[in-house]
């Protein structure tokens, strides 16, 4: 058995699963400390389907906690950013394009030092150990509690970042965590460095949260290993989560998409996740979310995280309904969490999408008699508007004219029709309301390579094989069962003007979590 938990902004959802079968599912309110909401959810699972804690083989948690901490600029550690690359890159120092309030929130200090590599692995300049020790001493003197290190072309050669980390630790002490950019991001210095600095700023918070999560699981007598889900739908263990909190940032939409895939049995489909205020639409290809094609800004900071391509529209259970007939609009404004005070079915005086759904009998919430007076024609018009708006978003996400099945999940998906014109039937699988927790529970383990390869004539296949093998090896090291690992994404971009057919290869491998071995390692 596994337990999947999704800690969202409003609800903490939890499921108990046996393979792909859902044994119990609950929703609890998310609490400010995160952990007591999880405890309530675990109690709910025990009540719904009593289980011996020893039978739980793994617990997977998806959380928006770290991205919320960044957006709200709270609980961030005083952080130093050290970049190796002088005399190159000096004109755009670390954090150059950050919102001022976030630089302040992390008491950000930027340091430039010699080092870095060219695209082909030649050093830009030699590492200057004295210079690095001086910088580290200055960090210590200024109360820095976490360090981010980046080096030019470190995805090609990691040597300088690794050595600089050793030198910094010698001076500042082993208790100050160091985050290295080649372990966090892709080619693109500023974006990779930004992600690394964010990661560094979150590490104190991550240590506390991860301890809290582990304690709440242990409090229920569960000794199974704990995992957190990452942006790309794969898992990291607790130790990894302490080191790389930034990798959890986009796990929410990814989990609901992956959950939808398992619940519906469809690996390639559009997933419509209808919540209280927004509807997120993503596309799964071979069971994995399609990634966004553009740079992603998080809290005003440009990064190159792996993020799922999600289109959001302001439409959900709390959306305001206005107008009549063809002029009817639904959303984008919403009563949000005040639904239970303001919606008609709860005795309020605001006509919401939920009221419309109750009026047609699609769902039983609140007091249906309070919406009995609505004009059936207006109700039909509102539902028609919702169907048209959502169908339009789904259509924009399609990548070919071929039919793409639509899977609806999330509590608000009762608002959607049985089928969309031109798109076909809407699959609304069992347990649709907790798809995100299920997505966490079934998450896999991955490994990725993103590097510039020099490809000699006739050696392309060898380079491709090398990249694929490296991705597979990384997945296995991360805990994947070697028998199940496969390549799920491959992208090859030749770089203009470089000699030796330099080619940037990006490759991702994913496999099932090695449950027994993982449990054994813990025991």
């Amino acid at each position: 058995m596994r337990i999947g938990i999704d800690v969202g902004g409003t609800n903490t959802d939890a499921v108990l699963m046996d393979g792909d079968r859902v044994l119990a599912a609950v929703k609890a309110a998310t609490t400010p400390d995160v952990t007591s909401g999880i405890v309530t959810a675990l109690d709910g699972l025990q009540a719904g389907h009593p289980f011996p804690p020893a039978d739980v083989q793994a617990v997977m948690i998806g959380t928006t906690h770290f991205i919320n901490a960044l957006v709200q600029a709270r609980d961030l550690a005083p952080t130093a950013a050290l970049r190796l690359g002088l005399p190159a890159t000096a004109s755009l120092p670390p954090m150059v394009d950050w919102p001022g309030r976030l630089v302040e929130a992390i008491a950000g200090r930027a340091y430039l030092a010699h080092g870095g590599h060219e695209f082909d692995g030649r050093p830009i300049s030699a590492l200057d150990e004295d210079e690095l020790r001086r910088h580290a001493a200055d960090m210590a003197a200024n109360g820095v509690r976490s360090v981010a290190i980046s080096s030019v072309f470190s995805p090609v050669n990691t040597e300088f970042e690794v050595r600089a980390a050793e030198l910094v630790a010698e001076v500042i002490g082993p208790d100050v965590p160091v985050s290295l950019s080649h372990e966090i991001g892709r080619v693109g210095l500023l974006e990779r460095e930004n992600a690394t600095i964010i990661n560094a700023a979150l590490r104190e918070l991550a240590a506390g949260i991860v301890d809290g999560l582990a304690a709440s699981i242990a409090g229920h007598g569960i000794t199974a290993p704990l995992y957190l889900s990452q942006n790309d739908g794969t898992l990291m263990d607790v130790e990894f989560a302490r080191r790389y909190p930034v990798a959890t940032f986009a796990s929410g939409p990814t989990n609901s998409m992956r959950g939808a895939a398992v619940l519906s049995g469809l690996g390639t489909c559009a997933v419509v996740d209808v919540g209280g205020t927004t509807t997120d639409v993503g596309v799964l290809t071979g069971g994995f979310p399609r990634e966004a094609t553009v740079e992603v800004s998080v809290a005003g900071i440009r990064t190159n995280f792996r993020m799922p391509d999600v289109l959001s529209v302001g439409l959900g259970g709390g959306s305001l309904v206005r107008g009549t007939g063809t002029d009817t609009t639904v959303g984008p404004d919403s009563v949000g969490y005040r639904l239970t005070e303001q919606a008609l079915v709860f005795g309020g005086n605001v006509l919401t999408a939920t009221d419309v759904a109750v009026a047609t009998g699609r769902v039983e919430i609140g007091d249906r008699s309070l919406v009995a007076g609505l004009d059936p024609a207006d109700v039909a018009a509102a539902l028609e508007r919702i169907a048209t708006d959502v169908a339009d978003v789904v259509d924009r996400m399609r990548i070919s004219a071929d039919p793409l099945p639509v899977v609806a999940v999330g509590g608000g998906s009762v608002l959607l029709p049985e089928s969309f014109p031109g798109l076909g039937a809407v699959h609304r699988p069992e347990h649709f309301a907790v798809a995100n927790a299920i997505g966490a529970a079934i998450a896999q383990v991955g490994g990725e390579v993103d590097r510039v390869f020099a490809i000699a004539p006739g050696r392309r296949d060898a380079a491709v094989d090398e990249a694929r093998q490296e991705a597979v090896d990384r997945a296995v090291v991360a805990g994947a069962d070697p028998a199940t690992v496969e390549i799920v994404d491959f992208d090859e971009v030749p770089i203009p003007y470089l000699p030796g057919n330099a080619t940037r290869i990006r490759c991702k491998a994913v496999g099932d979590l090695r449950i027994e071995q993982a449990a054994g390692r813990r025991a």
Binding site: G85, P87, A88, T89, A90, S91, L92, V96, D97, G116, E118, F119, R122, I124, S125, V152, F153, V187, G188, L189, L190, V283, R290, T293, V294, R302, D309, A391, D392, D395, R396, R398, I399, S400, A401, G422, L423, V452, D491, E492, V493, P494, I495, P496, Y497, L498, P499, N501, T503, R504
Partner: protein, 375 residues
């Protein structure tokens, strides 16, 4: 671009840079590099030194000494080993010293992409005005592919500087040789070098440059902001500024890339019209195939070549109007393809020899942009 440009800017300040960079990416026709880095560098220089004055080429005195400056190398390298602003001014200073002249104006040799911003850095550092114009009116990948070549202006003497402090000055037999020699130096320098070349008099610049291109870039960017604020049609706004029209709207259904003769060559297929598409929208049925080598060079529908280089083929994000580089083109991206006219001089026999489809290896005659809608 061939029309009369009425609202020219007289200065460029830090507040204009985002708009300028976005418009420059449009003129980059898929190549020219991501202007994000260039925008940050220019912003820093303008914050430090104040706004830069823009001078209409028509207002240049005969005796002006105009120094173009640019970055040469691979955009993929520039986003990792970011350029140093100090070297941009240094490249100009080194060439001025070699020639024994004092620059009076800085110019932009390539308005499309990242090279729209570097001249602003040099101008701010050296306290000089920038010419509101450029040598192409778009982006092309090789040094000799500029209108000054057609006017008989030599590329060299040119300077080339890396971030370590190395500077070279080249003197070559012709502009093609300058490209070949500077290319190998650039690679040795770590594939991102700053160059200054095509030094010209005011009289030559008036004759050889495409006027108003920096204003045009900035105007495109500002207009995209305004249109988006009112949820208007961003793509139509760009088409209007360029005097172009929509060729196709759809989703990228295939991207094939290959490296040949040092270019990132490739083919992208944009598939249009789904059953859900609004018949009143601009979605056209079928596929449009784009051939690119850094820049988009040819648009083909049903085996018929619709537009080729040197006219502009621009790919925009359908929803936002944001320009999409050929490196960022990926399966599933929702895009609109525009075509727009290039500077008339590129259509001369000499221009076609320099940048026509055959130079890039496509076995086809050039097909000029036709502003009329297809029947």
């Amino acid at each position: 671009m061939t029309g009369v440009i009425t609202d020219r800017l007289t200065t460029i300040g830090a507040d204009d840079l985002e708009a300028l960079a976005r418009g420059a990416a449009v003129l980059g026709t898929g190549g020219g590099g991501d202007p994000y880095i260039g925008r940050l560098l220019a912003a820093q220089a303008l914050r430090e030194h104040g706004p830069v004055r823009l001078v209409d080429p028509a207002d240049l005195p005969d005796g002006a000494v105009v120094f173009p400056v640019a970055m040469m190398g691979a955009p993929t390298v520039m986003v990792e080993k970011t350029p140093s602003t100090e070297r941009i001014g240094a490249a100009v200073a080194a060439l001025a010293e070699f020639l024994g002249v004092t620059p009076t104006h800085i110019a932009c040799i390539e308005a499309g992409g990242v090279n729209s911003t570097f001249p602003l850095v040099a101008a701010a550092q050296l306290g000089l005005p920038v010419v509101d114009g450029d040598g192409m009116g778009r982006a092309f990948p090789e040094l000799q592919m500029v209108l000054p070549t057609l006017s008989g202006i030599p590329c060299t003497p040119m300077s080339i500087a890396d971030e370590k402090g190395n500077i070279g000055v080249l003197n070559t037999v012709d502009n093609h040789a300058a490209e070949a020699l500077a290319r190998s130096l650039t690679i040795t320098m770590g594939c991102a070098a700053i160059i200054s070349n095509y030094v010209m008099s005011g009289a030559q610049a008036r004759d050889a440059l495409v006027p108003g291109t920096l204003s045009l870039c900035t105007r495109i960017g500002h207009r995209l902001d305004r249109v988006r604020a009112v949820h208007g049609d961003a793509v139509a706004a760009v088409a209007d500024e360029l005097g172009g029209r929509v060729l196709h709207t759809g989703k990228v259904s295939d991207v094939a890339r290959r490296t040949l003769t040092g270019f990132a060559r490739g083919t992208a297929i944009i598939s249009g019209a789904s059953p859900m598409a609004d018949p009143a929208s601009r979605s056209a049925a079928g596929d449009l195939t784009l051939e690119f080598q850094n820049e988009h060079l040819m648009a083909v529908r049903d085996g018929v070549v619709e537009v080729t280089t040197p006219d502009l083929i621009v790919v925009l994000d359908t929803d936002t109007g944001e320009p999409v580089t050929t490196e960022a083109l990926r399966f599933g991206h929702r895009v609109t393809v525009l075509a727009a006219p290039t500077d008339e001089r590129w259509h001369s026999p000499g221009g076609i020899a320099l940048v026509g489809p055959r130079y890039f290896g496509y076995d086809t005659d050039p097909v000029r942009f036709d502003a009329r809608e297809r029947p």
